[in-house]
């Protein structure tokens, strides 16, 4: 069963000079299983993205006028890696996608201004532990990101999803012994 996202408007708190972090975390704690959070703020709450990503939420942020932002945090459904036949790029021999671990982090970068999706994806990729996998949803094929991932030694695979507008990218930081090879 899916719930409508819980709505939290922290703009009055922010305009009064207050700090809404406690309210936000209480709201997150009170969400039903599978329920999202719709947050309204007077700026793009970037630090919050990382905090809630650790709790398994992906986010979609958009500016709604007058400098205000709407961010929808969605709890990530358990995802499995794409099978090799689904991808336009095969995983490295010996490390097929089917043996990649579940993604340690999920990003939803679909509503970000370019090149922000590339910036966020690389920033999150750098935080991965060796061997960990990151999943990122993008609104177009990340043509400038892919050569950079290759330069940094990441394995990646990606393709467009059934809706034809979402590009799902999985990338894996090489394990220490692989990196040393």
């Amino acid at each position: 069963m899916t719930h409508a996202p819980y709505e939290l408007d922290v703009r009055p708190i922010l305009r009064a000079g207050g700090e809404p972090f406690k309210e936000i975390m209480e709201a997150v704690g009170g969400l039903a299983s599978g329920q999202g959070l719709r947050l309204l703020a007077t700026f793009q709450p970037v630090p919050l993205f990382t905090v809630l990503a650790r709790k398994g939420f992906s986010h979609a942020a958009r500016e709604i006028g007058d400098g205000d932002w709407e961010v929808i945090f969605t709890p990530a459904a358990p995802t499995v890696a794409l099978s090799p036949s689904e991808t336009d790029y095969p995983a490295e021999p010996g490390h097929p996608a089917s043996v990649w671990p579940e993604p340690a982090r999920h990003l939803d970068n679909r509503d970000l201004d370019p090149p922000e999706p590339m910036v966020r994806t690389l920033a999150a990729a750098e935080e991965l532990q060796p061997g960990e996998v990151l999943s990122a949803l993008l609104c177009r094929e990340p043509l400038f990101l892919l050569p950079e991932l290759k330069n940094r030694g990441y394995e990646w695979q990606g393709n467009f999803q059934d809706d034809k507008t979402t590009y799902k990218l999985l990338l894996r930081k090489p394990a220490k012994n692989e990196a040393a090879e």
Partner: protein, 454 residues
């Protein structure tokens, strides 16, 4: 390779192109060419080629070698061929202009400059068409924006072929009746295919994708876009096939095919403008950036140019008024769009070049941090207002007023160029965020050596 890397030679194309634009504007301020000279005077033709080949075509080629790979998600077939093409194009253009000055009475010796110029330009464009064509071919089936580019490149080949025939006839390399007839009556086809088929149709195709990307607008393919492509392609094919057929086989003038092509082009442009309005309306990036705002003004220039073309055709004043129409299409539409897009493209490419390898590893600036839009914006307005003033002066046949307006265009362009150089040198980036260590400072217009080591 999957993905797209930075084009090594795009900045070199942009630099030469901007120098050609500044040179052309200096000539206009000095009273060289239209409207001080007649539309078909050698001085005007030299100026037209400096703008059409030196500025607009080099700008377009520089953009295409970077963005055709983005349109079709394939790497450029030959990454270093563009520099050979650029050298041939520059040498060819200089020879061509010297040839026109020779026709204007300036003594430059007995070298067949026009012929040599045509060879250089044809060879340079041929290399770029081959390179882009192979890239597009390897990506079949291609999307709608890339198909616009294919028709644009086809038009370019036709323009260059006609231009080469004209040059060969003018320097006396051929006395073939058919080629001489093409030379005396084919100029409208050459101009329409160049300004319309090559420059405008290609710009339309690229803008479908680029404007959508920069404004975060949905890129669904609409029926209007497909009709815009079909009617525009039909206009190009009529110029390409029916025009020469009328001239060489039926022994008629090219007036009728030109008229039909104009009608079809008007339908295509109306649909295109409607598509662009939808992109602006459905964009998700609420704050509209300088490049998108100024591109909208340039689209107004396209509408105005098309309207004036219909007007002078309907009233039978093409011979007297065509100069003003070409002026507004070249400077209001194509140059306006080109400068606006350069402001975004140069910032983005410089950002990627300087910070691509640092992203996620340390604090990096955003692309917007490389530009200072409030500082540059007034100069774009000065540019467009000067174009309107120059158009009015040309229409009223007031050459002194035209030169003053051209001075406004020159000052505005020079300031925009200065701001582009500032972007290249990261002058707006706070000192704490300048790239260090493994990243050298960007070079103004040449690729860095490590590009070749990868």
């Amino acid at each position: 390779m999957i993905g797209v890397s930075l084009s090594r030679w795009t900045m070199s194309y942009f630099t030469v192109a901007l120098l050609a634009l500044l040179g052309a504007e200096i000539l206009m301020v000095a009273g060289f060419g239209y409207p001080n000279h007649a539309v078909f005077a050698p001085q005007t033709i030299a100026l037209v080629h400096l703008v059409a080949v030196g500025w607009l075509s080099l700008l377009m080629c520089g953009a295409l070698i970077q963005f055709v790979p983005v349109l079709v998600a394939k790497s450029l077939a030959h990454p270093n061929l563009p520099v050979v093409a650029l050298i041939l194009l520059v040498v060819g253009l200089v020879s061509l202009i010297v040839g026109f000055l020779d026709m204007a009475g300036l003594s430059v010796g007995s070298t067949p400059w026009l012929g040599l110029g045509a060879i250089g330009i044809a060879a340079g464009f041929a290399l770029n068409v081959w390179n882009l064509g192979r890239t597009l071919w390897s990506a079949r089936p291609i999307g709608l924006p890339a198909r616009f580019v294919v028709l644009g490149l086809l038009s370019l080949m036709a323009v260059v072929s006609l231009g080469s025939i004209f040059s060969a006839s003018l320097v006396g390399w051929t006395t073939n009746d058919i080629l001489l007839r093409l030379t005396s009556e084919g100029i409208p086809l050459h101009a329409a295919l160049g300004l319309g088929g090559w420059l405008t149709f290609t710009a339309m195709g690229v803008s479908y994708r680029l404007l959508a990307m920069f404004m975060l607008a949905p890129e669904d393919e609409h029926r209007t876009s497909r009709f815009a492509f079909m009617t525009g392609s039909a206009a190009i094919l009529i110029l390409l096939i029916v025009g020469p057929t009328c001239l060489l086989i039926l022994g008629q003038s090219v007036a009728h095919p030109m008229l039909i092509a104009l009608g079809l082009a008007t339908v295509s442009l109306s649909l295109y403008v409607q598509d662009m309005r939808r992109l602006y309306r459905t964009r998700r990036r609420l704050k509209i950036e300088l490049n998108a705002r100024m591109a909208a003004v340039a689209l107004g220039g396209l509408g105005l140019g098309n309207l004036l073309l219909l007007l002078v055709t309907a009233t039978g004043q093409t011979d007297r008024r065509i100069g003003a129409v070409v002026f507004v299409l070249a400077f209001g539409w194509l140059t306006g769009l080109g400068l606006a897009k350069l402001y975004k493209i140069v910032a983005f490419l410089t950002w990627l070049e300087c910070y691509g390898a640092l992203l996620g590893k340390r604090v990096t600036p955003r692309v917007q941090d490389l530009v200072n839009e409030p500082r540059t914006l007034p100069w774009f307005w000065l540019y467009f207002l000067s174009v309107v003033a120059a158009l009015a002066a040309a229409s009223l046949e007031a050459p002194i007023a035209f030169r003053i307006a051209a001075l406004g265009m020159l000052i505005a362009t020079a300031k925009i160029c200065f701001d582009l150089v500032s972007i290249r040198f990261l002058r707006s980036v706070p000192a704490s965020m300048l790239p260090e260590g493994d990243r050298a400072w960007p070079r103004l217009f040449l690729p860095r050596l490590q590009h070749f080591q990868r």
